[in-house]
């Protein structure tokens, strides 16, 4: 399409000039507020208190969201905001994984705050343009584009009727439109959603970066929690930023030397060891597909099973050999030597509106291969990549879609839904074409796909209400909690990971804790107290990445050669020290690894209280579907009969001889529920919460987040 024609159709709704604030020690101390309903643009100041309590990233996002909304605010009310913030470390180039943005909003899926961590150049460019955060409120009447020129100091809201909505198209169009030359394209980053996000709850945001070598606009996703749906409901087509002049010291760190040292040490380590460790530079997170299968952890057929005889067809080497371009610098921000943002180039699409096009597919990440692939029984790499592409460009979260599609497929296979209900789609496990058709339907806003795209929670309600499904059974097999779909690991045999999924703030994702090996394989955390300690430390440690604008992968997808000789190998102590150095190097503060955890605890507890303020965030909301905890069906039990029978004998002193599978399932279920309750008790205690999951005032005081408005909420529950 003619870019000039697209641009000429724009009409200016508001314009705001500003003097870009100078960065100092990781902060600009200014945030940008844009109300697209009132076409109002203004500047806010970040106070020292906000920085102390909320740091940045999702911390500042949650703080702003709290202030902007009422307890009753719904996701589609104008006052709901989308806040995008890096964090004090965002934008440094010497340490891998330092270009992340954190996006916060009230989720259409969970009705509580969601936060999503995303790569691409937007976060760093936002900061270099003078803003610690961008806050968007209100709803536009017609599709708009927000443009920020960080060099000229201009913010514009423009009506933009003609551009595409699909992520890969609109990102190309706007990169072309706002770049002043071919060389300038790398200075542009575009946030977009996609056509499916117009219609379905599981909508995501794409954050772009321009790939100089491939000469294409690449996309990274803020996937979880339906932020794309909020974005499109606000009638935002895109947010574009331009910043020219990236250098390695724009954060104006207090001590560049500390950062350089940590960064070069890690680069060298990745250079020396990645090929024999995770092969992140070859295949990214997809390196673990076959590993998860081997350890019985790969979700298969809606989490019924943990392995499949066809997994070899979608193993990492298949993607390396047949699809993924090798030897490219695939960082989603400058300086990421882990380079996991892999891509299949010149990939020919076989279905949908872009059929026949040769495209660059960003992926597959592990979650995509497992969610779109094994969980739905699709063991065809071509199909997985095509679904991956369409999810991205349509603005659909691959994790939620994978899990939702797997749920719909199981319901279809069990006769809970049929062809009349699916509009003729044969949703058997393994039907990749049907899976793609669901996506195309979401994009068009028609058919059964739209229902799938509302997520498992809504599907359960509809199947029960409209089609007479058994509510208890659907509650058991529907892998969602708090309204969010479980990500792609089978937690059935790891109690700690059931807690890792269940006892989270935003819903069951693996952003907080992944403890399966520590627990199930290594047996390092046998007692409830051990598990509770891990479910305190790791969620707090990993929350920290979201405060800083960092990626978690360079923390543990590479490790020093002598890591196993350290006192706590699971924590990777040398990397923790790097993070302490980075923070001190940028901000000039002097924290240690304990204060690092404390910084997270404040925000983590604030988020918990935010949930409580909205009528959620209590013990009852932390319960998990039984599919996540143990065998629901006879087939599941019998697929692991030896293991389960042995557990009945050893753990429960129950003799399985002569018992029916149903009887054994019942006994096992009672036991596992009880274990989960005991775990919950232990974790709440360790986190400083009461038995209902409410942070105590003493605890809030101790960690320094006893703000009056926080205490006020908590008081009503103590």
């Amino acid at each position: 399409m003619d870019i000039k024609a697209l641009k000429e159709a724009h009409s200016l709704l508001a314009e705001y000039s500003y003097e870009p604030a100078k960065l100092d020690k990781g902060y600009t101390d200014k945030t940008l507020y844009i109300n697209i309903g009132e076409n109002k643009i203004s500047t806010k100041t970040v106070t020292p208190e906000i920085k102390e309590k909320f740091i940045g990233g999702k911390g500042i996002g949650l703080k702003y969201l709290w202030d902007a909304t009422k307890p009753s605010t719904k996701w589609n009310d104008p006052e709901n905001e989308i806040i995008i913030a890096g964090g004090p470390l965002c934008g440094i180039t010497q340490y891998p994984g330092a270009g992340k943005s954190l996006v916060v909003t009230i989720s259409p899926m969970t009705d509580i705050p969601i936060d999503s961590n995303v790569g691409g150049y937007f976060g760093p460019y936002l900061k270099f343009s003078g803003w610690d955060a961008l806050e968007v409120q209100g709803k536009a009447e017609k599709d708009v584009i927000i443009f920020i020129d960080g060099n000229k100091g201009i913010v514009k809201i423009e009506e933009a009727p003609l551009e595409a909505v699909d992520g890969h198209v609109v990102s190309e169009q706007l990169t072309e439109m706002y770049a002043e030359s071919e060389e300038d394209k790398k200075n542009i980053s575009v946030i977009s959603a996609g056509t499916a996000a117009n219609h379905v709850n599981i909508g995501l945001l794409n954050f772009s970066f321009y790939d100089i070598r491939r000469q294409v606009t690449r996309l990274k996703q803020a996937g979880r929690g339906g932020i794309g749906k909020v974005f499109r409901d606000k009638k935002i087509k895109a947010i574009v930023i331009r910043f020219k002049g990236t250098k390695g010291d724009l954060n104006k760190p207090a001590d560049q030397s500390l950062i350089n040292k940590a960064g070069i040490t890690l680069h060298k380590q990745i250079h020396d060891l990645d090929d024999v460790q995770c092969r992140m530079r070859q295949i990214g997170t997809a390196n673990i597909i076959e590993v998860m299968d081997k350890y019985d952890l790969l979700p298969v057929h809606n989490y019924q099973y943990g392995k499949h005889s066809d997994t070899f067809k979608i193993a990492s080497d298949v993607f390396i050999e047949k699809f993924i371009t090798q030897g490219m610098p695939d960082g989603c921000w400058f300086g990421c030597s882990l380079s996991c943002a892999k891509a299949a180039d010149k990939f020919e699409l076989l279905t949908g509106p872009y059929k026949g096009d040769l495209v660059t597919v960003d992926g597959p990440e592990y979650e995509n291969a497992a969610g779109l692939g094994s969980n739905c029984g699709v063991f065809d790499p071509q199909m997985v990549l095509e679904a991956n592409f369409y999810c991205d460009t349509y603005g659909v979260d691959t994790i939620s879609f994978g899990t939702a599609c797997a749920f719909a497929m199981e319901c279809y296979e069990r006769g809970i839904i049929n062809k009349d209900i699916t509009g003729g789609l044969e949703l058997n496990f393994g039907n990749g074409i049907a899976q793609l058709e669901l996506l195309h339907q979401m994009s068009r806003g028609e058919g059964f796909g739209v229902l799938v795209g509302q997520g498992v929670k809504v599907m359960k309600e509809v199947f029960v209400k409209e089609y007479g499904a058994d509510a208890d059974f659907l509650r058991d097999i529907g892998m969602e909690q708090k309204g969010l779909e479980v990500s792609e690991y089978l937690p059935k045999e790891s109690l700690a990971q059931q807690g890792g999924y269940g006892l989270t703030n935003k819903g069951p994702q693996h952003d907080e804790a992944w403890l399966i090996f520590m627990d199930m394989v290594n047996n390092q955390i046998p007692t409830f107290e051990d598990k509770a300690e891990a479910l305190h430390y790791f969620p707090m440690f990993r929350t920290w990445f979201g405060l800083m604008g960092l990626c978690k992968l360079p923390w543990n997808d590479t490790m020093p050669a002598d890591n196993h000789l350290t006192d706590e190998p699971a924590k990777i102590p040398q990397h923790v020290q790097h993070y302490v150095s980075l923070y001190n190097g940028v901000t000039g503060m002097n924290i240690d690894k304990h204060e690092l955890i404390r910084q997270s605890e404040r925000v983590y507890n604030f988020q918990r209280v935010f949930n409580i303020r909205r009528g959620k965030g209590l013990r009852l909301h932390d319960a998990m579907p039984y599919r996540a905890m143990g065998p629901v069906t006879i087939e599941e039990y019998e697929s692991r009969q030896d293991r389960y029978d042995q557990q009945l004998r050893e753990l429960l002193d129950y003799n399985p001889e002569g018992k029916t599978t149903e009887e054994k399932i019942k006994v096992m279920r009672d036991y596992r529920y009880d274990q989960y309750e005991k775990l919950t008790d232990a974790v709440y205690k360790r986190r400083g919460w009461n038995t209902n999951g409410v942070p105590t005032i003493e605890h809030l005081k101790e960690i320094g987040i006893d703000l009056p408005e926080v205490v006020e909420v908590v008081k009503q529950h103590l």
Binding site: S487, A513, N522, A570
Partner: protein, 65 residues
């Protein structure tokens, strides 16, 4: 009988570290092995014998996902 990660496991005559890893299907790359508290280096897996009664730890390093 030996212990593998504090759980009982059947010992076999002539069992090397490598053989144990094969039996347990421990194929993950980022692991380290200790026998009675002493680290066994990767290059020695094939030649290091496990004795009956040994306490073996095979620690998988992945806390990520």
């Amino acid at each position: 009988m030996i212990k593998v990660n504090s759980r009982d496991f059947e010992w076999q005559e002539g069992m090397t570290v490598q053989r144990l890893l094969e039996l347990k299907e421990y194929t993950y790359v980022k692991i380290f092995v200790k026998i009675n508290g002493a680290i066994i280096e990767k290059e020695d897996y094939a030649t290091t014998m496990i004795q009956d009664g040994d306490d073996v730890k095979v620690i998988h390093l992945l806390a990520g996902g």
